[in-house]
């Protein structure tokens, strides 16, 4: 590589210093389009928008290149060692108070670099697609402004070197999502969906914030109590703290290492140091809680945050409604990038995640349940975008299962492949809508294969990929997760993972079923008589080109999932390309998991391992094939020509179609309660008790006293004089008595 590219002008130093440009370019684009959009005209608007994202993409490629270089390393401010395969840049303090500090620090390692490429690459394609899709929309400039802003925010999320800066991106993408879902704001329902998304995300953000604060406390406590010789008690760590603050990822990494080193459950014979992971913290606000307990709480709060952003149980309800936004937005934000932020977050703090098996098991369970429930709901949906939305929720559930079983690279691989094929399908759905007068009901489509060949072929590839048919990328990434569930040794929770494995297989089967249903009903058969337009038309090249590229990527991404490499540090099994590439990122986590014996690789030897892998693959493939086949059979042959759905299943179908009434349940349980509480409090406490009784009551009491005293103030001058006389008499008598006695 080094020979291919000259050092100059792309020296690693230069790339490092220019990291900010990756974010700044789309931000600038957003600014230009936002402020001068109207004046620029459509041509210039999309030129600016696409160019800015494209520029970021090129820069991201440079970063990727730099990270392939073995000499790329950064100085870790929190410990004496260096971090390999990473770039970092610090642009000064953002804010600091007391002992807390946050700086504008960027950090690019292989995890973020991969994510960067996905965001800017898919983002660029979607920008390109949008130029055609949004052609006739009045808010053209506004749309691209929001979209560029979104990309900038997502890049901030990915490049952040501390939780606080990550939170900026985290909230920023939520904000853009709000704006874009409610893009056609004059429709009340669409604006409402945006609001729902934002508020649901805010519940997650609440979890995120609480978790961050608890982490700060944890770092402080560890610094105070850690024995000599641990990373946290070193001098470097304290300088790092004053330089970058406690929430920088390197600081958290050092915290994780320290905690792991003092885990006595792993090494019972060791003499107990001052700080013990399972012992209670002695001073400070966390007094009385153990490190392990607090860490689990932190992760659970992060899980709440991630559930909000990544649409997991119980906060997934916003994502299907988010389909109210323009379809490219759904593709970019609600399929490819933003919703995977939760997964990214857990990958980022993987070293903390592995220290709490309970939290991991919870993540896996939540992911699995989400995957199942979303898949079941997707069965009965007729809206093309809704089905894709539920499938996104379901696939995100798979990613969470991957996190939960400790296979971070697999989860992340699924993020990448999912970004490709789901974006491809969403864009395909957009193309379908574009060519069919914005019809979204799949029962009123059909037979599009002949009219929209490009769309239909790419959609088919996407469908096969998500279904898990062998040569496509979805198979490898999904199966890697399922295999992990089967083999990972999560201390204390192995049976749970095994149960999840079977549930995961069911979810995979469901996925195959409804995705095939979606494809068949939309593209195969005859055109539905209920269709809006008699003939669909294929979209223009800016729309089909991204489809083709993404479909190609969905196929090509298998390269990441193939178990190609056999490396010395993993003697038992061969590594996939992705695992090997991300090894520097997840190394710490794997190491800590092994050291504390909380998360172990399988103890199987190579032959057992290989056979298990192959049987696992075969099982998954068979299930996908059978389920997809049944679906295809049913929808091709049986229910195509207006045949009724079996009556016995009708209530079930209705139940699923209404999304298991989860929205209604939430409405009843929380929203109505909160509104009722607010109204009640306002009426009875604020208006009645505080204002009427306490405030006006005081005024009225004074008024009443005044009226009582009015009786004396009767206007009769002689009565007043009598009062004076009486006072005189009493005074005189008193004085006399005083004098005499």
């Amino acid at each position: 590589m080094e020979k291919l590219f000259p050092e100059y002008p792309f020296s690693i130093q230069n790339i490092e210093n220019g990291l900010w440009l990756i974010i700044a370019l789309p931000l600038l684009g957003a600014l230009i389009n936002g402020v001068f959009g109207k004046a620029l005209g459509r041509k210039n608007v999309h030129w600016v928008a696409c160019a800015s994202v494209g520029g970021s993409f090129l820069l991201s490629l440079l970063v990727m290149w730099a990270l392939g270089n073995v000499n790329t390393s950064v100085f870790n401010p929190f410990s004496p060692d260096i971090s390999r395969y990473a770039l970092s840049a610090d642009y000064g303090t953002w804010f600091s108070a007391g002992s807390f500090k946050v700086s504008f620090g960027l950090w690019a390692d292989r995890l973020s670099a991969t994510m960067l490429l996905v965001i800017t690459g898919v983002g660029f394609l979607i920008h390109l697609y949008s130029t055609s899709y949004m052609e006739h929309d009045k808010g053209y400039a506004k749309y691209f402004c929001f979209l560029n802003l979104f990309v900038a925010m997502m890049l901030t999320l990915v490049l952040a070197d501390s939780l606080v800066l990550l939170f900026v991106g985290w909230e920023g993408v939520g904000l853009c999502s709000y704006l874009l879902i409610g893009f056609w704001y004059d429709d009340n329902a669409k604006a409402w969906a945006g609001r729902k998304a934002f508020i649901t995300n805010r519940i997650g953000d609440f979890g995120f914030l609480v978790a961050s604060f608890l982490l700060v406390l944890l770092v402080t406590a560890a610094v105070r109590e850690a024995p000599q010789g641990t990373p946290v008690s070193s001098y470097r760590f304290s300088t790092g703290l004053s330089e970058k603050g406690p929430l920088a990822f390197q600081s958290l990494s050092a915290l994780a290492t320290t905690l792991a080193a003092t885990d006595t459950t792993a090494k019972p014979n060791q003499e107990t140091p001052a700080l013990v992971m399972n012992r209670d913290i002695e001073t400070g606000p966390l007094k009385g809680y153990s490190y392990a307990g607090v860490l689990t709480a932190v992760l659970l709060f992060f899980l709440l945050g991630a559930a909000g952003k990544s649409a997991q149980l119980p906060l997934y309800v916003w994502l299907p409604d988010a389909m109210a936004g323009p379809t490219p937005v759904s593709a970019l934000i609600h399929a490819a990038t933003m919703v995977t932020a939760g997964v990214y977050l857990f990958c980022r703090i993987s070293y903390l995640v592995v220290l709490s098996p309970f939290a991991m098991a919870t993540i896996a369970v939540v992911g699995c349940l989400t995957a199942l429930i979303a898949a079941l709901i997707a069965f009965a949906q007729d809206d093309i975008k809704k089905i894709l939305a539920y499938s996104t929720v379901s696939q995100l559930g798979f990613m969470f299962m991957g996190i939960g079983c400790g296979l971070f690279w697999a989860a992340f691989l699924h993020v990448v492949t999912h970004a490709f094929f789901k974006a491809c399908m969403f864009l395909g759905a957009g193309s379908v809508m574009h060519g069919n007068g914005d019809e979204t009901n799949i029962k009123r489509l059909g037979g599009l294969r002949r009219e929209m060949p490009w769309t239909s072929w790419t959609f088919l590839i996407g469908t096969l990929a998500i279904t898990g048919i062998v040569p496509l990328s979805g198979f490898f990434s999904k199966d890697a997760i399922l295999f992990g569930l089967e083999t990972q040794q999560l201390t204390g929770y192995v049976p749970v993972l095994h149960t999840l494995y079977w549930l995961g297989l069911i979810a995979a089967a469901c996925t195959a079923f409804y995705m095939v249903r979606l494809y068949v009903l939309t593209f195969e058969g005859k055109r539905s008589p209920l269709a809006k337009l008699p003939h669909a038309h294929e979209s223009a090249w800016p729309m089909t080109l991204p489809l083709v590229v993404l479909a190609a990527l969905s196929v090509l991404a298998i390269a990441h999932g193939l178990p190609l490499l056999s490396l010395p540090h993993s003697p038992h099994h061969s590594q996939t390309l992705m695992e090997a590439y991300l090894f520097p990122v997840f190394n710490v986590a794997n190491q800590l998991g092994a050291d504390t014996q909380k998360l172990l690789k399988t103890g199987l030897d190579k032959t057992e391992w290989t056979s298990l892998l192959w049987t696992g693959w075969f099982k998954a493939w068979l299930i996908a094939l059978v389920s997809g086949g049944i679906s295809a059979l049913l929808y091709f042959k049986l229910w195509r020509g207006g045949r009724k759905f079996p009556a016995i299943l009708e209530p079930l179908r209705r139940f699923a179609q209404n999304k298991f009434f989860v929205d209604e349940l939430y409405e009843l349980l929380f929203i109505e309660r909160a509104k009722g509480l607010a109204k009640g409090l306002y009426r009875y406490v604020d208006a009645f008790f505080v204002d009427r009784v306490a405030v006006h009551g005081t005024a009225q009491t004074v008024g009443f006293l005044g009226r009582v005293l009015c009786w004396f103030q009767n206007g009769n001058v002689q009565a007043y004089a009598s009062a004076i006389a009486l006072a005189l008499a009493v005074g005189l008598t008193y004085a006399l008595l005083q004098v005499l006695s």
Binding site: S722, A725, L726, A729, L732
Partner: protein
């Protein structure tokens, strides 16, 4: 029992009778005329107490100026329904009782005081004042000296008060200015 005391007694009775008439006469005109009489008797008592200047002032200011004013007002106002019979009310009962107790207290106090004066401090008796001093004591010269030296500031303030009173009276009494 000398003439002074007899005279004092006589004048006192007259004063009280006059005062009672002022208070209890039905007709304000009767009241007013009784008031003039009362002022005169009081002036006489002042003379007995060697307060010649004050006695003169009493006659001039009170029995003269003030009473003329009163009479003028009585004449000015068409008081056909002059008798206003007493109407008892709680306030009046309280007033009457209070007045009675005040009177009792005052009388008791004066008698008590007289007693203590006689027993305790004979030196402070007025008898030590020589006849000559007494003659000079209450005359205009002495009072004038006192007013224009020691009491100058209150005196000037008083003139201001009178001025204010004149203006005030004009402002209040005139229908339109």
């Amino acid at each position: 029992m000398n003439v002074e005391i007899i005279l004092f007694f006589v004048f006192s009775v007259c004063t009280l009778v006059g005062a009672s008439l002022v208070v209890f006469a039905n007709n304000p005109l009767t009241s007013a005329m009784s008031l003039v009489a009362t002022f005169f008797f009081l002036a006489a008592i002042y003379v007995l107490l060697y307060a010649h200047a004050i006695a003169a002032l009493q006659v001039m200011v009170y029995a003269g100026a003030v009473m003329v004013l009163f009479l003028l007002v009585i004449m000015l106002l068409p008081l056909q329904n002059t008798p206003l019979p007493l109407r008892p009310s709680p306030a009046r009962w309280v007033g009457a009782l209070s007045t009675a107790s005040v009177l009792g207290a005052l009388i008791y106090a004066s008698l008590q005081w007289q007693k203590s004066l006689e027993t305790l401090t004979p030196t402070t008796q007025t008898t030590t004042m020589s006849q000559e001093t007494l003659m000079r004591f209450g005359n205009l010269e002495e009072i004038g000296l006192s007013i224009y030296t020691k009491w100058l500031f209150p005196f000037e303030a008083l003139s201001l008060l009178l001025l204010a009173a004149i203006l005030g009276a004009v402002v209040i009494a005139k229908a339109r200015i």
